[in-house]
């Protein structure tokens, strides 16, 4: 019943397939697996009955169906490792007397779908909060507080604040979609980063003064020209410096450094590093990887309080990508945060 033994060549061919593969013989036992599969189901499966290794009813039923009628089937299989689920699509094919299983990782596809759903849900939620506030105050102004001048002034102030927040959110969404749109178009003009940084800082002076933060500019050169889009780069640095003031403000000091251009591996050539360093509370390491996700916030409540939309760093990342640059966030709790942008000095084309 066993069928001929698989040859060394066949086994090494199966091992070389990057996709997880499992071969079930006529006696329902596993004849061969490859390392990619062992990583999911564990090692030393050869010789075992396939049910003991696979267990999930969907897959076992499908194998029985393919065994009975020949042909092929594709079913879902979820591998579970502690808290992490990985969904696979298992392609089951009859091959002479054997049955071959190929596992296709579905997590990327499912993540994209989930991200899109989350995005829509987030945007709706973000817009609804200020809208609810506005509607509430409109109702109060139309009724109970109609003739109360003090309350009216206070409510109008809050309403203006909420409306501004919505405007900011819509602006950010629009600029995010614009940036995404021309992400593949390389910027052609040359921009002087030193002048640009100085004017961004000047624009944010009132905010820095209000938060009692000193902003220091530390330039390695007087003029530093790089290929870039002046408007977008202004947005990047305004975003980073504003973040530094808002979230790293407890450090009382913000240093913006433009380093001497050097060779950067990530850029595959000469690049200039611009860092925004604060001495604030810092960010816990598990947040750092997710900071550029849309609407990701370390502290939702605090972010809303200071008027954040949750989109700033997502926009920064996209703009930096368009410039073929690189974004690096380093932080230590209690020590402060350093956000660096690396931009190529010469256009590669």
């Amino acid at each position: 019943m066993k069928g001929p033994v698989l040859t060394e060549t066949t086994l090494s061919l199966i091992a070389a397939i990057p996709m997880p593969v499992l071969v079930i013989g006529q006696d329902e036992r596993i004849r061969a697996t490859n390392p990619a599969l062992d990583a999911i189901l564990g090692r030393d499966l050869t010789g075992k009955h396939h049910i003991t290794a696979l267990r999930q009813p969907g897959v076992i039923d499908a194998i029985a169906r393919v065994r009975g009628s020949g042909g092929a089937a594709s079913v879902r299989f979820v591998s579970r490792d502690r808290d992490k689920d990985t969904p696979y699509l298992v392609h089951i094919t009859a091959a002479s007397n054997d049955i071959v299983l190929c596992l296709e990782d579905q997590s990327a596809a499912e993540d994209v779908g989930k991200m899109r759903r989350d995005f829509v849900a987030n945007v709706s939620h973000e817009l609804r909060t200020p809208l609810t506030a506005l509607l509430g105050f409109i109702e109060t102004l139309g009724g109970a507080a109609r003739d109360d001048a003090t309350a009216r002034a206070r409510f109008l102030g809050i309403m203006a604040h909420e409306a501004e927040r919505m405007t900011r959110l819509v602006d950010d969404l629009l600029s995010l979609s614009r940036v995404e749109e021309d992400e593949r178009v390389r910027p052609r003009e040359l921009v002087d980063l030193c002048g640009l940084l100085a004017s961004v800082i000047k624009g944010l002076e009132p905010q820095a003064a209000a938060a009692d933060v000193t902003v220091r500019l530390d330039l390695a050169r007087d003029v530093m020209r790089v290929p870039g889009d002046a408007g977008q780069l202004t947005q990047v640095f305004a975003n980073l410096i504003e973040n530094g003031i808002k979230y790293g403000g407890s450090g009382k000091e913000l240093v913006i450094t433009l380093h001497e251009p050097t060779n950067h591996l990530r850029l595959r050539g000469q690049g200039v590093q611009i860092s925004v360093t604060d001495k604030g509370d810092g960010i816990a390491s598990h947040h750092i990887a997710r900071l550029t996700e849309r609407f990701y916030r370390v502290d939702t409540h605090r972010s809303r309080e200071v008027g954040g939309t949750g989109l700033g760093l997502a926009i920064v990342k996209h703009i930096v990508n368009r410039h073929r640059g690189h974004l690096l966030i380093e932080s230590e709790l209690g020590q402060g945060t350093r956000v660096s942008i690396f931009l190529p000095v010469e256009s590669l084309s």
Partner: protein
């Protein structure tokens, strides 16, 4: 495995092992689907769980018959006998867990008719997920003969008990706040209790696996976390 005794008995045992693993797979699915049907308020999925219980019961029946036949024909002793006895106990526990999943599905069909009680679905789902993870590891431990993994499962039951305690108090609070919540909360509480019982049964299964692998039943030094029998009111 290739010594002279490995023969008819080993083949019989393998058949039974395959059946029990298959049964385990069905029960794992039943827990996942029962919890999902509650979270998504999906009556159709709840119906699937209720139907799937028949297959679980049929498998238990089949395992009992195969085991009885093997004992009668092969008269196994020592470790071989232990293997058969373990299978019988595992099958009985799995069948009970399947019943609890079916009960959750039944209550889901009733609950969807009522206003949802805030946040409790998610908590129940987390609890079910924890138990499902324990069952998965127990079945893996059984297939691989891994007593250490089984021992680890045994320790995890405490977390389920703690989740149950938290939910118990939460439901009490909801019911005191608003008597209209009572019907829904009673159902939800029974669901939580069902999941907690599943955790206990899974722990028993893990102990059986330890017994099978080591030949010694683990002692009672297991952390226990269900303290609701001492609760007199929600404070």
């Amino acid at each position: 495995m290739n010594d002279h005794i490995s023969s008819a008995y080993d083949r019989d045992l393998e058949v039974i092992t395959t059946l029990i693993v298959k049964m385990g797979g069905l029960v794992e699915d039943a827990i996942t689907n029962a919890a999902r049907s509650l979270g998504d308020r999906d009556v159709e999925l709840a119906e699937v769980v209720r139907k799937a219980d028949k297959a679980i019961d049929a498998l238990e029946e089949q395992i009992n018959e195969e085991a009885a036949r093997t004992i009668a024909l092969r008269a196994p002793v020592s470790k071989d006998l232990r293997a058969i006895l373990t299978v019988l106990r595992l099958a009985a526990s799995l069948e009970r867990i399947g019943d609890y999943a079916k009960n959750i599905a039944k209550r889901t069909s009733v609950l969807v008719e009522m206003a949802p009680v805030s946040g409790s679905d998610a908590a129940l789902r987390r609890m079910a997920r924890e138990v499902e993870g324990m069952l998965k590891d127990t079945l893996d431990a059984y297939v691989r003969g891994d007593a250490r993994l089984a021992e680890e499962v045994r320790q995890r039951d405490q977390e389920v008990d703690q989740m149950y305690n938290a939910l118990f108090r939460e439901f009490l609070t909801f019911m005191m706040e608003d008597p209209r919540n009572i019907t829904a909360c009673m159902h939800l509480h029974f669901m939580a209790k069902n999941i907690e019982r599943m955790g206990d049964l899974t722990t028993n299964m893990a102990e059986q696996v330890i017994y099978l692998v080591t030949g010694v039943m683990p002692d009672e030094a297991r952390p226990k976390g269900d303290r609701t029998s001492y609760v007199s009111d929600a404070r």
